[in-house]
C-alpha cells in the first residue's frame, strides 16, 4: 500500500517538474496532457488507498529523516487515515478535473506550460499538507500551497491588479502563518514532539491556558488560509487569477486547509469548547457577512468567491461546535459543487470575452445549454435543495447548531441559507435568462470545448449524489478517527417542520431571485444609492479601512524611509565613498605623469613615510613593553 501512497504524493510533483521543463517554451499540449494524466494516476492511487482505509486500515510511512538535531526529531512522515484520505480524494478529483478543464481553458494562453507546472506543484503541496503526519510537514505543505497560490493569482503578472492581489494574498497569509508557527512552537515547547499521534495523546496533560493558546494560535493560522474575518479581503481579490485556479485553490482545496487543520487537531479543540464556540460564532458571522456582500456584487467571480467565504463560515461553525465529521463532509461536498460553479463561470467568461459583470450578460441559456445545466445544478446543490449534496451537508450544520442549542447561530445560518439561495440564483438568472444584453457589446457567445464539459461532468454527478450516496459510508469511515456524534432531532415533528421549512424558505428565495432578475433587469436607483446597498457594495468599506489603516501609513513610512534614510544616509554614504575615491583619483592622477624623475621623488617620499612609520611603531612598541615590564 505504501507504493500507492508515494504515487499519490509524487505523481503531481513529477507532472509539475515535467511541465517546468517546458516552462519557457511556447505552448506544447503534451505538458497539459502529461500533467493531467499523472494527476489521474494520483487520483487512482488515492482511490485504492480509500478502498484500503474503508476496510479499516491506515497507512503510515516514514520516508526519511528530515530534521534530527538534539531532541528534535522530525521525519518526512506521511499518514493515510480516515481524515487525510477524504482530503486526498477531494484534492485529486477536483485537481484532475481542473487540469483537464484547463487544457481547454488555457488553450490560447502564452503561459500554458508554466500554468500546468504551477498547478501541479500546488497539488503536490496540498498532498503534503494533508498527508503529513506531523505539524511541521503540514506547515511545509501550508507554505507550499501559499507559494503556489501566489504564483497562480499573479499568473498574469503583466496585469498590475493581478500582482497586487497575489501580494495581498501572500502577505495576509504570512500574518496568519506567523501565528500558526507560534502555535507549533508552543506545541513543541510543551510536548517535545510534533507528531500528531504523540501530540494528541499528550495534549490532555497540559495545563488549560496552554491548550487554549495553542488552539487560538493554530486557529489564527487557519483563519488566514481560509480567509476568515478579518483576514478575508484577499480571497475576493484573488479572483484575478485564471478561473481554473479559483476553482481549484480558492474554492475547493487550499482555502479549506484551515478547516482541515481544525478537524485534524480535533483532540486539541475538544478540550477547549470555549475556543470552539468562538470559532463557531466567527464562522456564523463570516457566513452572514460574506453572503450579504455577495448579494449586490456585480462581479461574477467575486460573487462565487463570497459564497465560498460564506460556506467556509459554515464549516467553521460545524468544526467549532465539535461536529468535525460534519465540517469535513461539508468541505467535501462544497469542493465538488463550488469547483463546478467556478468552472461554469470560466466557460461563461470565455464566451463573454472575459466580461465579468453579469448585468452585461443574459439569455445565455440557448448558446450554452450544458454550462447552464451544470451551473444550475451546482447552484441548487449550493442552495441545499433535496436531494443534492448541499442538502445533506449544509442542513446538517443547521441541525448541529440546533441540537447544540446555539439558537442564535442557527438563526444566522438559516438566514444565510436563504441569502445563499438568493445570490446564487440571482447570478444564474442574470447570466442565463432574460434579454441578450451582451449583444450590445458585439459579443457572440459560444459553448466551451466538448472535452471541457466532459471534464466537468463528474463534478456535476458528484454534486448531485455526493450527499445521498456518500453520507453513510463516509460517516462510518471517518468516525474511526473523529468523534462519532450523531445529530438527530429527537422530536419528529420538529425535525420535519425544520427540514421542510428550510426547504421552503430556500425555494422561496430562489423564486424571488428568478422573479427579480430573470426577465428585464430594472436598475432601482433608489435602492442602489441607499446606505445598505452602498455599504454592501463597498464590502463594508473594509478594504478601504485596511487601506487607510495599514497600507497608507505603511506607504508613508516607506516613503520617509526612502527619502530620509535611504537617500540621505545610505545612498549618501555610498556616493560619498565613491566621490572620495573619484576625487582622490582626479587629484592624484597628475602624479602619474610618466616622468621618471617625479616618480623617483614619490618613491623617496614613500620611503620616508615608511621610515616614519617604522620609527613611530618602534617607539610605541618600546613604550608599551616598558610599561608592561
Amino acid at each position: 500500500m505504501e507504493i500507492y501512497l508515494y504515487i499519490a504524493l509524487f505523481a503531481p510533483l513529477a507532472g509539475s517538474l515535467f511541465s517546468a521543463l517546458f516552462g519557457a517554451s511556447p505552448k506544447t499540449s503534451v505538458t497539459g496532457i502529461v500533467a493531467s494524466g499523472l494527476l489521474f494516476i494520483s487520483f487512482v492511487s488515492s482511490a485504492i488507498l480509500l478502498n484500503y482505509v474503508m476496510m479499516g486500515h491506515t497507512v503510515h510511512v516514514e520516508m526519511m529523516t528530515w530534521i534530527a538535531a538534539g531532541d528534535l526529531y522530525i521525519p518526512f512522515g506521511f499518514v493515510v487515515d480516515q481524515v487525510s484520505v477524504v482530503m486526498m480524494m477531494v484534492v485529486s478529483v477536483v485537481s484532475t478535473v481542473v487540469h483537464i478543464y484547463s487544457v481547454g481553458y488555457m488553450d490560447h494562453d502564452k503561459g500554458f506550460n508554466r500554468f500546468f507546472s504551477y498547478l501541479s506543484a500546488f497539488v503536490f503541496s496540498m498532498m503534503v499538507l494533508v498527508m503529513s503526519d506531523n505539524f511541521l510537514g503540514l506547515f511545509i505543505g501550508w507554505e507550499g500551497v501559499g507559494l503556489c497560490s501566489w504564483l497562480l493569482i499573479g499568473f498574469w503578472y503583466h496585469k498590475e491588479s493581478a500582482t497586487w492581489a497575489a501580494n495581498e494574498a501572500f502577505i495576509m497569509n504570512r500574518i496568519a502563518d506567523l501565528a500558526m508557527l507560534i502555535g507549533i512552537f508552543i506545541v513543541y515547547w510543551n510536548i517535545g514532539s510534533l507528531q500528531y499521534d504523540v501530540v494528541f495523546s499528550q495534549i490532555a496533560n497540559l495545563p488549560m491556558p496552554i491548550i487554549t493558546w495553542i488552539g487560538i494560535f493554530l486557529f489564527i493560522g487557519a483563519m488566514g488560509k481560509s480567509a476568515q474575518f478579518p483576514l478575508h479581503t484577499w480571497l475576493a481579490d484573488a479572483m484575478e487569477g485564471p478561473t481554473p485556479v479559483s476553482a481549484l485553490i480558492h474554492a475547493a482545496t487550499m482555502v479549506t486547509a484551515g478547516v482541515y487543520l481544525v478537524v485534524r487537531a480535533n483532540p486539541i479543540y475538544s478540550l477547549i469548547p470555549e475556543v470552539g464556540t468562538v470559532i463557531a460564532s466567527l464562522g456564523a458571522f463570516v457566513a452572514m457577512f460574506a453572503a450579504t456582500m455577495a448579494l449586490v456584487n456585480r462581479d461574477m467571480k467575486r460573487i462565487i468567491a463570497y459564497s465560498t467565504l460564506s460556506q467556509l463560515g459554515y464549516m467553521f461553525v460545524a468544526a467549532g461546535l465539535g461536529a468535525y465529521w460534519v465540517a469535513l463532509f461539508h468541505l467535501m461536498a462544497h469542493a465538488f459543487f463550488k469547483a463546478l460553479l467556478f468552472l461554469g463561470a470560466g466557460n461563461v467568461m470565455h464566451a463573454m470575452h472575459d466580461e465579468l459583470d453579469p448585468f452585461k450578460m443574459g439569455g445565455l441559456k440557448k448558446p450554452m445549454k450544458w454550462t447552464w445545466i451544470l451551473m444550475t445544478l451546482a447552484s441548487v446543490a449550493l442552495a441545499g435543495i433535496y436531494p443534492l449534496a448541499g442538502f445533506f451537508s449544509k442542513d446538517l450544520i443547521l441541525e448541529v447548531a440546533f441540537v447544540e442549542q446555539h439558537y442564535v447561530l442557527y438563526t444566522v445560518l438559516l438566514l444565510t441559507a436563504g441569502l445563499t439561495a438568493f445570490y446564487s440564483f440571482r447570478l444564474v438568472a442574470l447570466i442565463f435568462n432574460g434579454d441578450e444584453r451582451h449583444l450590445e457589446h458585439g459579443i457572440h457567445p459560444h459553448e466551451a470545448y466538448n472535452f471541457m464539459l466532459y471534464a466537468m461532468a463528474p463534478l456535476g454527478l458528484l454534486a448531485v449524489i455526493a450527499g445521498m450516496v456518500f453520507k453513510t459510508p463516509y460517516y462510518e469511515m471517518v468516525t474511526h478517527l473523529l468523534p462519532a456524534l450523531e445529530y438527530h432531532i429527537h422530536n419528529h415533528t420538529t425535525f420535519w417542520i425544520m427540514t421542510i421549512g428550510t426547504q421552503l424558505f430556500v425555494i422561496a428565495a430562489i423564486a424571488y431571485a428568478y422573479k427579480k432578475y430573470a426577465k428585464a433587469v430594472k436598475v432601482d436607483k433608489k435602492v442602489e444609492s441607499g446606505f445598505f446597498y452602498q455599504l454592501l457594495y463597498n464590502q463594508y468599506y473594509i478594504p478601504k479601512l485596511y487601506d487607510e489603516l495599514f497600507s497608507k501609513p505603511y506607504r508613508e513610512l516607506s516613503r520617509i524611509a526612502w527619502k530620509q534614510i535611504d537617500l540621505k544616509i545610505v545612498d549618501a554614504t555610498v556616493d560619498g565613498i565613491a566621490n572620495v575615491i573619484y576625487r582622490t583619483g582626479e587629484k592624484t592622477h597628475t602624479m602619474q605623469n610618466g616622468n621618471l624623475s617625479s616618480m623617483l621623488r614619490w618613491m623617496v617620499i614613500g620611503l620616508v613615510v615608511l621610515l616614519v612609520l617604522a620609527v613611530a611603531f618602534t617607539v610605541g612598541y618600546n613604550a608599551v613593553t616598558m610599561r608592561a615590564m
Binding site: H589, M591, Q592, N593, G594, N595, L596, S597, L600, R601
Partner: protein, 101 residues
C-alpha cells in the same frame, strides 16, 4: 676614541641620503646611474661594518652580491641608455614620458 658600529651605520646612512638626493635631483640618466651606485655603496659599508662588529661573514657575502648586482645593472642599464640615445639623441629624463597615466 673608539669607532663603533654606530659610526659606520651613520656614515652609511649619510651616504645613502646623498645618493637619494642625487636620485631625486638628477635629470640626466647617466648621472642618475651614478647616484644609484652611491646608494649601493652606502649599503655595502653598512654590511661590511655589521659583519665586522658581529664577527659574522654574512654581511660581507651580501656586500659581495650587491657588487655583482651593481655590475650587471651597469651593463644592462648602460646598454639601454645607449639604445635610447641612439633613437632620440637625448638622455634627458624629462622626455621619457611614454608611461604617462
Amino acid at each position: 676614541m673608539e669607532i663603533t658600529l654606530a659610526h659606520y651605520l651613520v656614515l652609511s646612512g649619510v651616504l645613502f641620503s646623498i645618493g637619494l638626493i642625487g636620485v631625486m635631483r638628477r635629470k640626466n640618466l647617466l648621472m642618475l646611474f651614478f647616484a644609484t651606485e652611491i646608494l649601493l655603496n652606502a649599503t655595502n659599508i653598512g654590511f661590511a661594518a655589521i659583519a665586522h662588529y658581529h664577527g659574522d661573514l654574512t654581511g660581507q657575502m651580501f656586500a659581495f652580491f650587491v657588487i655583482a648586482i651593481a655590475a650587471s645593472e651597469v651593463a644592462v642599464g648602460l646598454g639601454l641608455l645607449i639604445v635610447w640615445y641612439k633613437r632620440t639623441g637625448k638622455i634627458d629624463l624629462d622626455i621619457m614620458t611614454s608611461m604617462r597615466g
